[in-house]
Symmetry: C2
Subunit: 231 residues, 2 copies
DNA sequence: GTCGCCATTTGACATTTATCAATTGATGAA
DNA sequence: TTCATCAATTGATAAATGTCAAATGGCGAC
């Protein structure tokens, strides 16, 4: 594996503080692979052979049951996914597919488990990462259980607007995936966008503009303990 | 703190493997308290002063937003809660109240964070516990997003039936809390029970009987990657 | 540029779920 | 026992959300 990839991975908080010797041991079994768009990387119920790291591109975590499918999250560079399955050596609970052409690093799960038993800094980093993952899912559950779909969309737009830093921005995913992520149908999403016009939201294809953020926020009532994914 | 309590706590997987010296250090700052029913133990958004352990009784984890409230989980002996907030030193995302008279052990969060930096076995146990918590919430999200309320209730009953080991059992929580936990109103739950009569479910107050588990399962389509909380 | 494809939108309608009000039923106190 | 209380149920209705089919519109292949 090229040194540049190693440095990218080393820069992740998960690996930043660990012993160099242990890091090199991890990297020995690691390989980097390029995938075209819409390729299934892992499938739920499979055994966790590798810890995945998205280096470029993006990955959709989704799940299926009884012929239905739901998008659970999007993983963007540079971060890992399915850490929980890896450390506990239990089957994946979600499937993952590339959304676009992506470069993914694959670290053998067995190596991860072996090293984290020897390296306290690595173990600490895993604890911190898992705690953050856990908190993200709890926030998502609160979003789903406490809000209507219109409120979820409104708060999603406020989060995106905050991330962009401007009142005009582009949606970062297909609307059908956004609908699935927000727990609604594409048709319902389309109507929800219409419903937010009353609060100054204008939509043109993927371009969103928020006329009056305060007005939208008055409706959406964003809350850091639901909407702030960074804590 | 009495030795018997210490032994109970020591028996938890989270503390079982750690160094005795470190365990004693943790226990020095720990105290055990009795709480009457319906007492708020912690409130979301507060700083995580203590890691809580339910020794007896039961605790409801719930959350509120915009005047609405939802029950997220029930914690039963002997297990901890709000570990993620404690290890990352971030505000609670959920509130907790006793459901009945309960004995709770309180371990200062700062001690937990200090010890897990020194004790690899403890760090490993925290990783394992957090990964399990994470997976539980993911399963819960799948349940919410992929199933209708009738299907959620059907699968809930199958889980309870499996736990009880018999086709007749008692509901372990108030129906209004069950409704909230399943993401529906009490009225809707009442009608959902009626709707499951077609699959052999009989309800009399808190007593449930399942005439033909296979028939119910044919409708509910239980799936270990949603319904099996033990993995 | 034109065509065909596919995501999105729109409309009509069905289903699910929530809300509100009234009633029932169980439980404990006086 | 009788009453008061509160959870649970029921009925009527409203709101939210989903489904199906058809129309629209953007975009790349040719």
């Amino acid at each position: 594996m090229p040194e540049s990839h190693k440095e990218e991975i080393r820069g992740l908080r998960l690996f930043a503080e660990m012993d160099e010797k242990h890091f090199q041991a991890l990297m020995r079994g690691t390989y980097v692979q390029n995938f075209p768009p819409r390729i299934d990387l892992i499938h739920e119920e499979d055994a966790p052979d590798f810890l995945h790291i998205v280096l470029t591109g993006s990955v959709d975590l989704y799940t299926s049951w009884n012929g239905r499918e739901s998008s659970m999250a999007t993983v963007r560079p540079i971060s890992t996914f399915i850490l929980a399955a890896t450390v506990n050596d239990l089957p994946y609970l979600m499937s993952a597919r590339t959304l676009e052409r992506s470069r993914i690093a694959l670290i053998p799960s067995s190596e991860v488990r072996e090293v984290f038993g020897k390296d306290v800094a690595f173990a600490q980093a895993i604890v911190s990462e898992l705690a953050q993952c856990y908190r993200s899912v709890v926030k998502n559950t609160k979003d789903l259980k406490l809000r209507t779909s219109l409120e979820r969309l409104a708060n999603y737009l406020i989060r995106q607007q905050t991330r962009a830093g401007t009142t005009e921005f582009e949606l970062t995913m297909e609307k059908r995936r956004l609908a699935s992520f927000l727990g609604m149908t594409p048709e319902n999403l389309s109507r929800a966008f219409k419903g937010l016009e009353a609060y100054g939201v204008k939509v043109s294809a993927n371009h969103i503009s928020v006329a009056d953020p305060d007005d939208l926020a008055k409706f959406a009532k964003p809350n850091p303990f639901i909407d702030d994914y960074s804590t």
